[in-house]
Amino acid sequence: MNFLEHNALYVVGIISAVIWLGLFFFMFGMERRVRKLENQ
Amino acid sequence: MSSWQGVLRKDLAIEFRTRYGLSAVIMFLLITVAVILYSTPGEQLQPSILSALMWIALFFGAMTGLSRSFIAEEERGTSLLLRLYASGESVFLGKLVYNVGLMLTLAASALLFFEFFFARDFHIRDWPMFLLQLSLGAIGVAAVSTILSALIGRASQKGALLPIVALPVLMPLVIAATDAMRITLEVSNAWDGVRGDILILVSFDMAMVLVSYVLFDVIWRD
């Protein structure tokens, strides 16, 4: 845990960033799939 | 005006004949109190624990007793008749008043049991505030379980759904009431401490009664 204590900002920051950007790319994939289905 | 009183009178007559609601609820309360007393022999119970216990007992007692109001109508198959004879408004008002009455009786008996069985630890220091939070909490629980049991009554499978659906909705009310009860058990002049909780209770009750009054018609008519 010592490593985490010293790098708190990076842990919290990277998780937040990954959540948002991950959500974005997940959404993008969904959007493409839905579009494909809608055009069928 | 007389219509909702008719619904209320009908429910009261059924209750006096079968004594189902009240006896189930009081059994539930007694068992809860007995389990608590059995598991904490000779221990000093703090006001925070006592208030939480009392509201847990009241909440689950209400779920066993008050859920009957609409679910029993559906099970007996009398809801169709009720729909024919009374308007949605009067059914709602009748059931609400009946449930509030049942819940206040339940709260009063819970208070009695706690005064009797926890005589050593359960000291109410501010009676008016204690009674105020108890009755406001009882009204809120009755209002929420009226509308939600009407909602669950419309579903084909009823059973355990009501507590699952009602517990989270009632949580803000139960939290505020528990906090207020703890304070009235701790200090003799509790108004300053419970003001926020009482405000929450009053506004929650009013919001719930109004919203369920408006929504009841939607659930009730087919």
Binding site: L4, E5, A8, L9, V11, V12, G13, I15, S16, A17, I19, W20, L21, L23, F24, M27, F28, M30, E31, V34, R35, L37, E38 | V144, I147, L148, L151, R154, A155, S156, Q157, L161, I164, V165, L167, P168, V169, M171, P172, I175, A176, D179, G196, D197, I200, S203, F204, A207, M208, V211, S212, L215, V218, I219
Partner: protein
């Protein structure tokens, strides 16, 4: 919405989000001389980043005279000459400073930035983690907006009896639930580093937990009902409206009257009023951070609308498929 059918808009949104994430972690945090002194005196940390304007520099004593953001002047010993040559008089410096308790002097440890575009304030007890305010707080705000929209769609469904409103209500509430869950996750990781444990049963944590339960019950109720689609939608819509009545209590009222570790709690453990939404209607947050916070809210609102839109379309496709079968 038509907006989300355009790829250009979606790429703009993605790039804006990436820039926002970059800004949130790149912008330096700068406190004041009094922050540095207090944190060192209380033994919280020895080295504190401060933001101050260089007024004059004496090369002999290596003493720089600064004015910080509260108009306090202070002296910093800039022992390394290299630091001094990087900045000229009149520059705004963000630097980490060690406050020496014995001699009551500030010693320069590191020069972080000269004339930064913007800085975030030093929030007491949070330090560098204060930047997380740009992610955690907007998430809960957008979750509230999502629940509100879900309720509005439920009301519209009950009035107009159009199934599309039911789908939108479901999608909004699902997105709200997702955002609440994300706010809980980021919040509990944040809590691990600033309060010591992942979960403290702080009033706000309790109320967000109940909120998750309520909307979890909404989706459970929906999946458990074995009724006709019309009846199912009606029951779910009524429950959604009743559930929303509790949301203001859980999100705004309860956390404000009980003792809380979060800012704005009644007990004043974290000090002062809530930073953004409070009873006196004042904003108690630094302008820069607040503006960036609203940018975050705005961007995440679009992410929510997009999420809702995609989920509504999926539900529409599903319903079309069941109709065809």
């Amino acid at each position: 919405m038509k907006l989300f059918r355009s790829n250009i808009f979606l790429w703009c949104l993605g790039i804006a989000l990436a820039i926002q994430v970059y800004i949130a972690f790149e912008t330096p945090i700068g406190g004041s001389f009094s922050d540095a002194k207090m944190l060192a005196m209380n033994g919280v940390q020895d080295v504190t980043p401060i933001k101050a304007t260089l007024l004059s520099y004496d090369p002999v004593t290596k003493l720089g005279r600064f004015r910080d953001l509260y108009d306090d002047t202070g002296h910093v010993v800039m022992s390394d000459k290299a630091y001094a040559t990087k900045a000229a008089v009149g520059d705004v410096l963000v630097m980490s400073v060690a406050y020496d308790k014995q001699t009551a002097t500030n010693n320069l440890v590191d020069l972080i930035r000269v004339n930064p575009m913007m800085t975030f304030p030093m929030i007491q007890g949070l330090g560098e983690l204060g930047r997380n305010m740009l992610f955690h707080v907007p998430m809960s705000m957008v979750a509230f907006i999502a629940f509100l929209m879900g309720t509005i769609y439920s009301i519209l469904y009950l009035i107009k009896k159009d199934f599309d409103y039911d789908r939108r209500a479901r999608a909004s509430s699902a997105a709200g639930l997702l955002f609440t869950a994300l706010a809980t996750i980021t919040g509990s990781i944040w809590a691990r580093f600033s309060w010591g444990t992942f979960w403290n049963w702080d009033p706000r944590e309790t109320s967000i937990f109940i909120l998750l339960l309520i909307y979890g019950a909404y989706f459970m109720l929906r999946s458990l009902l074995e009724e006709s689609e019309d009846k199912k939608a009606r029951i779910a819509a009524v429950y959604n409206i009743i559930a929303f009545v509790t949301v203001p209590f859980l999100m705004f009222i309860l956390p404000r009257i009980t003792q809380s570790l979060h800012p704005g709690g009644g007990g004043g453990m974290a000090g002062g009023e809530a930073p953004i939404i409070n009873l006196s209607g004042k904003v108690h947050t630094d302008r820069t951070l607040l503006n960036m916070h609203w940018v975050s809210v705005f961007l995440f609102l679009f992410v929510f609308l997009w999420l809702k839109d995609v989920y509504t379309r999926i539900l529409r496709l599903q319903d079309k498929q069941t109709e065809e079968n």
